[in-house]
């Protein structure tokens, strides 16, 4: 089966600084894959490049058998890609509810608002306050919830557990597992290693803007040494 997301020799730049040096990645429909790596190796950059936010890019980037390089940013989502940015991107001038309803729905199979509120009761309680008045963790919840509504085929999550209380981290883990059951594909960037190993099918290890190695969750035990070296886990 062809990969849903097929990346070959992807390069990306910030102005003159070359950050991604030929990334290769193939993710099949329904997989949950975690991208690991130290600070500053280019994980966020990879997600932003896939999403089309970074336009200085070269290489092959195919999603659902379509060449994504020429697709303008505002059409990327319509092809079924959803993004939760690292800095969360909550809009200060919008209420929680407005933030939640902001991204246009792509497909019918997204979560309903009620389901979301059940998942994150805090959001329900604070639904009328303005976006950035939320606590850091609440903002993180909102950022995730917002994308769950749209019904995308593939989620790009950048450190979704940062700043969340352990209970919530667990709950998000449950959500990811449920998403997997629904057949949704996830590419996850994570520092929280325990969390990542609970939800992921496969890992990519990144260093210096390149994929260093790749292994399924079953090999995790054997790879601990390598991880230790690269990540300091």
């Amino acid at each position: 089966m062809a990969a849903l997301l097929d990346i070959r020799d992807l390069n990306a730049w910030y102005g003159e600084s070359h950050v991604l040096h030929g990334v290769n990645m193939q993710i099949r429909e329904g997989e949950t894959v975690t991208l690991l790596g130290r600070n500053g190796v280019g994980k966020t950059t990879t997600l932003r490049t896939i999403m089309g936010i970074i336009r200085q890019r070269k290489g092959t980037l195919r999603f659902a058998d379509r060449d994504m390089l020429p697709v303008p940013l505002h059409k990327t989502a319509r092809h079924g890609l959803g993004f939760v940015p690292e800095e969360r991107g909550i809009f200060a001038s919008l209420s929680v509810m407005e933030n939640l309803l902001l991204p246009p729905q792509i497909a019918k199979n997204g979560m309903s608002v009620d389901e979301i509120f059940e998942l994150f009761p805090n959001l329900h309680e604070r639904r009328n306050s303005s976006g950035t008045k939320l606590s850091g963790g609440e903002q993180q919840m909102l950022a995730i919830a917002r994308i769950l509504r749209t019904g995308v085929r593939m989620l790009l999550l950048d450190e979704p557990t940062e700043g969340l209380a352990p209970v919530i981290v667990q709950r998000i883990g449950d959500v990811l597992i449920r998403l997997k059951e629904r057949g949704i594909t996830v590419l996850l960037v994570e520092q929280n290693f325990r969390f990542a190993s609970r939800v992921a099918d496969r890992f990519y290890l990144m260093d210096h803007g390149q994929i260093q190695s790749e292994f399924p969750v079953s090999e995790l035990g054997q790879r601990m040494d390598e991880l230790h070296k690269v990540l300091g886990v």
């Binding site: 500053g40 800095e87 606590s135 352990p166 709950r171 300091g232």
Partner: protein, 258 residues
């Protein structure tokens, strides 16, 4: 505890009584008492939205409490403006990283060093007056492991490195009391170990109050833990005691294995 404040504990460096803050109809912090002692690391934990950052904002006077009293080294600072509080030696870091993006990493630290070294108001002296701070700044960068990025613009650092830089500027002020809001969030494992060690070092001669969701670090380095929930104190004590509290477990920690 009642709204009428009990007397402020004498030997606490930073202490608050009956701290309360309302946002419109929403009670974000409700009647919180907290004491931070010299030489200790005190953790403030709790579910998201419990009011931890708000407590920080109140203690540092970035927000004015609706009621309650705060004292810093036996001085009442309930009505003192934020910048004065900072000058008195109570310094905070931010949950969402706060650096000066278009200054270099070195200058970020030097700006922080200026005030404690009496170089804040001089508009008649040349910039080279700041050169005397360079050595100190470089030393700080070395402790946190930012030497390589010395001349980079803060804006170009990756997220995790920005957090490290923020810790460095905070330490530059040589504060007596340090309030750290999730200092380790977004950091990679290798930095977590370094910075946690650094915090422990720093705390030997100072008082530290920190918010952190990384419980292994909390268990590791914190002497005392206060758990906040819905703006109120749910439990307090050492980590062992608190982590066994069933209420804390359901509200915050969740299942053991994670």
């Amino acid at each position: 505890m009642l709204a009428s404040a009990s007397p402020v504990t004498a030997h606490a460096v930073l202490s608050a009584r009956g701290l309360t803050r309302r946002f419109g109809g929403f009670l974000a912090v409700n009647n919180v008492d907290i004491d931070v002692y010299q030489g200790e690391i005190h953790a403030l934990i709790g579910p998201n939205g419990a009011g931890k950052t708000t407590v920080f904002n109140l203690l540092t006077k970035f927000l004015q409490p609706t009621s309650g009293r705060i004292s810093l080294m036996r001085q009442d600072i309930t009505a003192t403006p934020a910048d004065r509080v900072a000058r008195m030696g109570l310094v905070r870091s931010f949950q969402i990283s706060a650096v000066f993006p278009h200054l270099t990493v070195l200058d970020n630290v030097r700006v922080a060093l200026q005030r404690p070294n009496g170089l804040a108001h001089q508009f008649w002296r040349p910039m080279s007056a700041l050169d005397q701070l360079t050595g100190k700044a470089e030393g700080l960068l070395a402790t946190v492991g930012l030497t390589r990025e010395r001349d980079a613009l803060a804006a170009d650092l990756s997220y995790g490195r920005k957090r490290v830089l923020e810790i460095a500027t905070t330490l530059a002020l040589d504060p007596k009391v340090l309030l750290l809001d999730e200092p380790l969030a977004g950091m990679g494992q290798e930095d977590i170990a370094t910075i946690a060690g650094l915090i422990r070092n720093v705390a030997r001669t100072r008082a530290v109050l920190m918010v952190e969701h990384n419980l292994s670090v909390v268990a590791d380095i914190c002497d005392r833990v206060t758990v906040l929930q819905r703006g109120e104190i749910l439990a307090a004590g050492d980590y062992e005691t608190v982590s066994r509290d069933p209420q804390v477990r359901t509200a915050y920690m969740g299942r053991e294995e994670d």
